[in-house]
Amino acid sequence: MYAVLDVRNLRKVYDKIVAVDDLTFAVPGGAVLGLLGGNGAGKTTTISMLLGLLVPTSGQIRILGEDMLRHRFRVLPRMNLSSPYVDLPHRLTARQNLTVYGRLYGVPDLARRIDALAGQLDLVDHLDRPFGHLSSGQKTRVTLAKALVNTPSVLLLDEPTASLDPDTADWVRTLLKDYQRQTGATILLASHNMQEVERLCDDVILMQTGRVFDRGSPAELIARFGRESMEEVFLDMARGRGRSIEALRKVEAVR
């Protein structure tokens, strides 16, 4: 099947620190891939490289068939990002921020698109308030609206429900699932939230210190680790109780 996201042997080294090491994965169109790992696992670094914000030390990235290292501007209009690590201008209202980004992405009929997103994300009463005056949950929803303003084919979400209360987080997950179903968008989701990963992701890459620790669907990973939830799988990886995919391959090779 045609891979919308095709990443091969991706590596990023800062001075002597290896942030991402030999990362390879492919995501078919319409799938949701989760990047799961603790702090410093390389999730945000990977997303930054996919968007061209960060130049890899080596490796290849193809998105929607284009080489991102050489032709990223052919693909960026069809991508978007939501991240708690990148802010929007605080003095601009939510509507002004969405207008600016809608125009940057060349969104047609922008006013209607903003109104529709405000309705979906429960932002109607907050559109004309400065972004800096919003609560952290409202800010997260505005950032999500910005990420959806161009109806992206490839959506990169870095901890999309950070700062949201459980009810709103659940509601946002439903929205993202609906968006993916309605548009056939391909989503890459980096998260610490295991419920989110279990609910949204078709496939999960477990990352540890920049490397792939294991990969599979949430059900496969839970079965392989002999656990009952992704949270337990994550804790096994984090506490060194699970075996990495490399270690498993070595065992299989010996057999």
């Binding site: 930054s48 914000l53 209009p77 690590y85 990148v86 802010d87 125009r103 940057l104």
Partner: protein, 272 residues
Amino acid sequence: MTTAAAASGSPLTRVAALVLRHWYILRGSWLRILELAYWPAVQMVMWGFLSEFLARQTSYVAQAFGVLLSGMLLWDVLVRGQLGLSISFLEEMWSRNLGHLFASPLRPIEFAAGIVTMSLIRTVVGMVPVTILTIAFFGFSIYSLGWPLLVFFFALQMFGWGVGLAISGMVLRKGLGAETFAWAAVFILLPVSGVYYPIAVLPAWLQPVAWALPPAYVFEGMRAVLANHAVRPELLAGALALSVVYLVLGFGCFMWLFNGARRKGLLSTQGE
């Protein structure tokens, strides 16, 4: 609902979007608009009174009353050009917005064009009222320089943009610790720019440095118009040509530092 099928939006639309982002900020605060004219106005009053005093003492100023005021106003065109661009860039740094901007279809050259346009807007909004006040207070109009004023204006603006782009790249690469340069860098050129005195006054070894910079051509050209009523085309051409060279160099410097920031992962981490 379907996803975006193809790249849409033109370079001009994206530049206009960035200008709109900064225009929202500017129009939202009368203090920011006032600030644009505040310092030029204070300087204009001070140099205006000094000119009136000197006009009674020296025949040079008496014959060309506006020479100091014009020098001050044109110097501020350069300062506003550089500062206007740097402030627009710093706004993006302060708001930690660069990651979103450069993950969008906005290309670095479009980003530069956007902040250059904002610099032009800031300069015009700040300087035009001050030139009108100069007429009202001291009876001197800088517009008496005639069409060469347009050449002086754009030469100084372009040079300011070149310096501003280089400094913006440095702030991006080195972080907000280098912010002070954005406010003060251009003033190091003041002694060799010939704003208030001819380049010939400088020591012989320093004069080649002055002539390697566009302001020397602008201010010598300005004095030629005001004191001798002569337009010197070679000075206008030199000012424009050198300004274009410095603008290209400034953009090259910005791109070099921008690419370094992309390698270091600074686009999504820089901020307060």
